[in-house]
Amino acid sequence: MAKIMFKDFLLNIINTIHTLKTENLNWKRTNQEQEAQVKQNRVLAEKALISELKKRSRQLKHELTLLQTQHDAELLMFKTKCKQDVKDYKQYLASLDQLKHSIQSSYTHLPEAVAFTIHHHAKYLLNEMWETTNFEEKMQREIQLIRFMSTVHEDARLYLEGKTKEVLPERTLKFIEKR
């Protein structure tokens, strides 16, 4: 009895497996086209993505080359500007030395300390101008420096032409005192 029951049980299992296989086969047959379409679509999408990525990579490389060239040019310009700045500063210092020399040669009895103070003040104005980052402020400082230099030259000229009898460049010293 048990033997027959066991046999029936096994047969039932085998039948179930066969039914499942048949159903699976039927499903595949019905959806074969759709499945193939999905697969093809996936492959096509992957290919499109790859070609898009390749294109983007090429484009970016090109942009990078351009950027590099632009950066090199920018750096070169900045380097030249730095060199020019240093040169300008050197020239400014030389003209301030010239200013001191000019006032000393005009006022022959001018004490060295006074000439030193005038020169020092001019250098102070120059450095103030140089260290300002704001353009408008920089211009104002430059104007101030130029005004100071012209005052010194004016004093020297007046003394040389004998239009003033003052022993010291009073206008220049007043300018310094105002600061």
């Binding site: 790859i50 950027l67 700045d85 240093v86 500063y89």
Partner: protein, 163 residues
């Protein structure tokens, strides 16, 4: 008689034999089960590795990495430009400070020399100790490049000389 005795012995040892056989079989089955589990584990790990490597070296992943690499390069270039500008600016400032220092030094030396000349010119008017003190101070301030102190010394000397 002997056969009977043998059969008797076999009968006696049969349960023991069956017991030993069962245990051996159980151990073998357990070992086999563990072996199978291990084998399946190794197979699954290998499959996973293969899948991961395949995904990493696939054309899509490679192209994606190339794009990311170029983007990274671009960012690096931009940062480099900024830092190179900073570096150039730093060297420019260094150069300027050097020029300024040299100029300051030259003018301080000129002032010290002028004070020295004044001291010698008015040597007769000054007591010897004061003259020597002024001279020492002048040399000291010149060495220290202390322009303020030199100016004060000059003023002190002028006050003393002019009464």
């Amino acid at each position: 008689m002997l056969i009977r005795f043998s059969l008797f012995l076999i009968f006696l040892s049969l349960p023991l034999f069956l017991f030993v056989l069962t245990i051996k079989l159980a151990v073998l089955m357990l070992l086999f089960a563990f072996g199978l589990l291990f084998f399946l584990g190794v197979i699954s790990v290998l499959k996973r590795c293969f899948h991961v490597f395949g995904a990493y070296f696939s054309v899509q992943a490679r192209e994606n990495r190339k794009v990311l690499f170029v983007l990274n390069q671009r960012q690096r270039h931009q940062k480099m430009l900024h830092f190179k500008r900073l570096q150039l600016n730093y060297f420019k400032e260094l150069e300027r400070e050097k020029l300024l220092k040299k100029n300051n030094q030259a003018h301080i030396n000129a002032l010290a020399q002028a004070i020295e000349r004044d001291l010698h010119r008015h040597k007769q008017k000054l007591p010897k100790t004061l003259f020597l003190q002024f001279q020492r101070e002048n040399q000291l301030f010149r060495r220290q490049q202390n322009q303020q102190a030199l100016l004060e010394l000059h003023a002190k000397l002028s006050t003393f000389v002019n009464g």
